[in-house]
């Protein structure tokens, strides 16, 4: 049989309209202030939106790992200074 991905409602996909804001864009808009202070962290958050990590269920452990990487981006910049 033809495999069909059912995790996302087909209707919701079908009925996607132009005024919908993508998660990537939402994060981009929300991180304007962060972008000035820590562009790497901001880029990292956008990449999480882009690769779908934010839309998937994450365990407590994986959230800890993501937070750790996010802080590394900030620390890296701090150390550089």
């Amino acid at each position: 049989m033809c495999p069909r991905k059912k995790n996302v409602s087909p209707a919701a996909k079908k009925k996607k309209v132009p005024d919908e804001t993508s998660l990537e864009k939402i994060i981009y808009l929300a991180s304007s202030d962060l972008n000035l202070l820590g562009s790497e962290a901001s880029e990292y958050l956008i990449s999480l939106a882009k690769d779908g990590s934010l839309e998937q269920h994450q365990t407590k452990g994986s959230i800890t790992k993501l937070a750790d990487e996010l802080l590394q981006k900030l620390r890296g910049r701090n150390d550089a200074n």
Binding site: M1, P3, R4, K6, N7, V8, S9, P10, A11, A12, K13, K14, K15, V17, D19, E20, T21, L23, I26, I27, L29, A30, S31, D33, L34, L37, G38, A41, S42, L45, A49, S53, L54, E55, Q56, H57, Q58, K60, I63, T64, L66, A67, D68, L70, L71, L74, R75, R77, N78, N81
Partner: protein, 786 residues
């Protein structure tokens, strides 16, 4: 199109060794009296979709894996219970359940399992007692139920991940501790520096540098300060032992051990007050609650407190847990502060002891005049400075207080005699050390600002995502609402319940509700004004609208959904199923004999299959299908012991069938007085059909229509048997089992005559709108009005 070809069950719920629902990939209507096993098939489907769970079996007695409810009670020892769904393309999914309830669900191909288990209940399966389930959901439950269907579950997950990520960043960055550390450093620096601005400090440092013969003007604090410290250290080494001793005095005083001890004692007392009173009790209360609060979907609903068992409103519990957590966090901060103060004191004491180990100082200390001094310094070694994590005992703090009260005045007295040159060096070094903390303060400042920016961004992102969810939900809900209104107007035309709509709450997140106009008055919920029957009707419309919105091609399973609808509305529902669910396989189960018969007579045989379950006898026999598509098995079930009752049941069943047949054939019935119109029997209808048939019933023979007499003689036989054996008013004798069996057979033959042997459809299926005739789909049988 994804169609179920058959469902096979073995020792599952009411099924014994084998129970098979063979749909032939068609739509199916299954009739069965109460308890005949219809829901066993629905349970089989639910068990597979919900990965080993059936909601209505969730009960303390059903066992950890619901094994006491899922498995047939008479399953032979060690037999595995099974359920399998086969699809029209050859794919299938099976569930095997061991005696202890552990199970495996697998599919061929593998991907089928995830597809089936992603079916949304709100648009796939509806049971009798759940027809109004969506209406009865709280607004939070409605939101959760619709999330996947609206395609917003991914965004909701993103919002939750962003929230969790924010909390994780707060914890992992230790931003609270960093802020305390920064404040402490600033407080100390402000004691010595008039301005903490880098440029002001640089001016002062550059001035000081000149006095140490550093000519170049520096632009950064750290390298300049380190350069000056090196010069000071060099000078210190050249000091006379006498002067060096003063240097040690001053350094020891600089540690401010008395102040630090006081800070530690006060922070310890504060922590003790907060922590001890709270920790044990609160943690025991909060531990079971923490996860629970996270899954409360509707704050307005009453729930059972997992700690004390009382019923409380969700919002109160959330508020309670939030407050408790805040108090715990304050207690934790107090504990951290106490620990930090202890570390500072321990560091200061270590530094004092380190400095006291200076050889010049030691030789001075060993002189007989300094015996008191020496004893006091020696006593400092006895305090628990090697274990900064361990809280000090009161005896230790009191003892240290005593030692310092003696030692510090002595030091101060000695320090008074310090030569000016040494004092200058000491002051300069203190000043430079303070200056050196400025880059650290700045680094902390920068890091804290960035961490706060990340936290703010994550919070803002979550808010934006929630706004987006709301925006999209509103648009999709409007689309669904239009469909609900269309279906409602078909089911309840010209009734003053209008403007039904699903709407997302503007002031509460994760909340959807149903609004409507009742006789022109806005109602925020159907529960306020609608009767149970109307709520069920509305629930049905919502289910069907959601199924249509999803637009997929998965089957829809309807289990006894018309119980609360009257005959008129059941007829309208049949029309909706026929017209509005095209493209979806419908598998419906009903115990309503009349409705089943109506569907049977209305729906085309090419698309619909009709099946009858025989009354269920015992767990060992399980599910059994009737060989007949009519519902006369309900009467047959009475045959062995109650042939008399069987006759009456036959007549009741025939009343339904023949009234429907007469209606479809538009046979005019004589008007009777009063309520006698509603009490016509099968004999009234059959007599009229027999009377009209010779001039109206035609059969195509070789391209032309001719009179069709065969059914008439069978109908007459049946009528005579019904008069003799199935009408209490007309016969006085007792009906035997043999006679009852003969009666049932005659009835089945008679009903079968309405059906075309070629196409399988009834003679009234086609050309319903024609004023001259109705006929079967292939045109073999025709009933003429003229």
């Amino acid at each position: 199109m994804m169609r179920i070809d058959r469902i096979e069950l073995s020792w599952f719920r009411g099924a014994a060794d084998s129970g098979v629902l063979n749909t032939g990939s068609k739509n199916v209507a299954v009739y069965g009296a109460n308890g005949s096993g219809k829901s066993t098939f629905v349970d089989g489907i639910e068990y597979i979709i919900r990965n080993g769970k059936i909601c209505h079996l969730q009960h303390e007695y059903s066992g950890s894996y619901q094994e006491k409810g899922v498995r047939n009670t008479h399953t032979p020892c060690d037999n595995v219970s099974q359920g399998a769904i086969y699809f029209d393309d050859g794919s299938f999914i099976t569930a095997k359940i061991k005696p202890d309830g552990t199970f495996t669900i697998s599919s061929t191909p593998k991907v089928l399992k995830s597809i089936i288990q992603s079916w949304n209940f709100e648009s796939h399966l509806l049971r009798q007692d759940e027809v109004a389930r969506f209406i009865h959901y709280t607004k939070g439950e409605k939101y959760s139920a619709l999330l996947q269907l609206l395609g917003l579950d991914n965004l909701e997950q993103a919002a939750e991940n962003l929230r969790q990520l924010g909390l994780s960043v707060i914890t992992q960055s230790g931003i609270g501790t960093l802020r305390i550390q920064r404040e402490q450093l600033i407080k100390t620096a402000e004691k010595r520096l008039t301005s903490l601005k880098t440029e002001d400090v640089l001016i002062k440092l550059n001035e000081l540098a000149k006095s140490y013969s550093i000519k170049e003007t520096a632009k950064e604090i750290k390298p300049l300060a380190e350069q000056i410290v090196a010069k000071i250290e060099k000078k210190i080494k050249t000091l006379e032992p006498e002067q060096n001793r003063y240097f040690v005095f001053k350094q020891i005083l600089y540690e401010e051990t008395e102040t630090k001890l006081e800070s530690m004692v006060s922070a310890d007392a504060e922590a003790e007050r907060r922590v001890d009173a709270l920790l044990d009790i609160r943690i025991s209360v909060l531990e079971p609650m923490e996860e629970f609060v996270g899954i409360i979907e509707d704050p307005e609903k009453e729930i059972q407190c997992p700690s004390c068992g009382k019923m409380v409103v969700g919002s109160e519990l959330i508020e309670h847990v939030t407050k408790e957590l805040e108090m715990l966090k304050e207690a934790r901060a107090a504990r951290d502060k106490a620990k930090s103060r202890r570390e500072e004191l321990v560091a200061a004491l270590s530094s004092v002891l380190n400095k006291a180990a200076d050889p010049f100082f030691r030789s001075w200390l060993e002189s007989p005049e300094q015996k008191e001094f020496s004893i006091l310094i020696e006593r400092l070694h006895k305090f628990p400075i090697s274990k900064p994590d361990v809280r000090w005992k009161t005896g230790d703090t009191d003892a240290l207080k005593y030692v310092l009260s003696k030692l510090v005045p002595l030091l101060k007295e000695e320090a008074k005699h310090i030569p000016p040159s040494t004092k200058g060096l000491i002051d300069d070094r203190d000043f430079v050390n303070i200056c050196l903390t400025l880059p650290e303060i700045n680094n902390l400042d920068t890091f804290i600002t960035r961490v706060q920016a990340v936290i703010d961004t994550l919070k803002k992102s979550e808010e934006f995502v929630r706004e987006e969810i709301k925006k999209r939900a509103e648009r999709i809900l409007e689309e669904i609402s239009i469909d609900i209104r269309t279906l409602w107007s078909k089911l309840h035309p010209d009734e003053p319940i209008e403007d039904i709509k699903l709407y997302a709450h503007t002031d509460v997140d994760k909340a959807i509700d149903i609004g409507l106009k009742f006789f022109g008055t806005d109602q925020p919920s159907p529960r306020l004004t609608l009767s149970e029957g109307y709520r069920n009707s509305l629930g049905l419309c919502i289910f069907l609208a959601l199924a249509r919105f999803e637009g997929g091609d998965d089957p829809i399973i309807l289990d006894d959904i018309v119980s609360s609808l009257d005959r008129e509305h059941r007829g309208m529902l049949a029309e909706i199923i026929l017209q509005d669910l095209t493209g979806r396989q419908v598998i419906l189960f009903t115990h309503e004999r009349e409705w089943y018969s109506e569907l049977h007579y209305r729906f085309p045989a090419a698309e619909w299959k009709f099946m009858v379950l025989r009354p269920w006898e015992n767990p060992g026999i399980g599910l059994r299908w009737s060989e007949s598509i009519y519902t006369l098995d309900d009467a047959k079930a009475l045959l062995p012991g109650y042939p008399e009752a069987c006759g009456n049941r036959v007549r009741a069943i025939m009343d339904t069938h023949l009234s429907l047949a007469a209606e479809k054939l538009k046979i005019p019935m004589q008007y009777l007085r009063g309520d006698r119109n509603d009490r016509r029997t099968c004999l009234d209808f059959l007599n009229r059909i027999i009377g009209e048939a010779p001039k109206r019933l035609k059969k195509k023979v070789g391209g032309s229509w001719s009179e069709y007499k065969d059914p008439i003689s069978d109908w007459k036989t049946t009528r005579d048997l019904l008069v003799a054996w199935a009408d209490r008013a007309s016969h006085g004798g007792t009906l035997t089992a043999h006679e009852a069996e003969k009666l049932i057979k005659a009835c089945e033959i008679s009903l079968g005559h309405f059906k075309c042997k070629l196409c399988g459809d009834y003679m009234w299926i086609a050309d319903q709108s024609s004023r001259k005739w109705v006929q079967c789909t292939c045109g073999e049988l025709q009933w003429r009005y003229e």
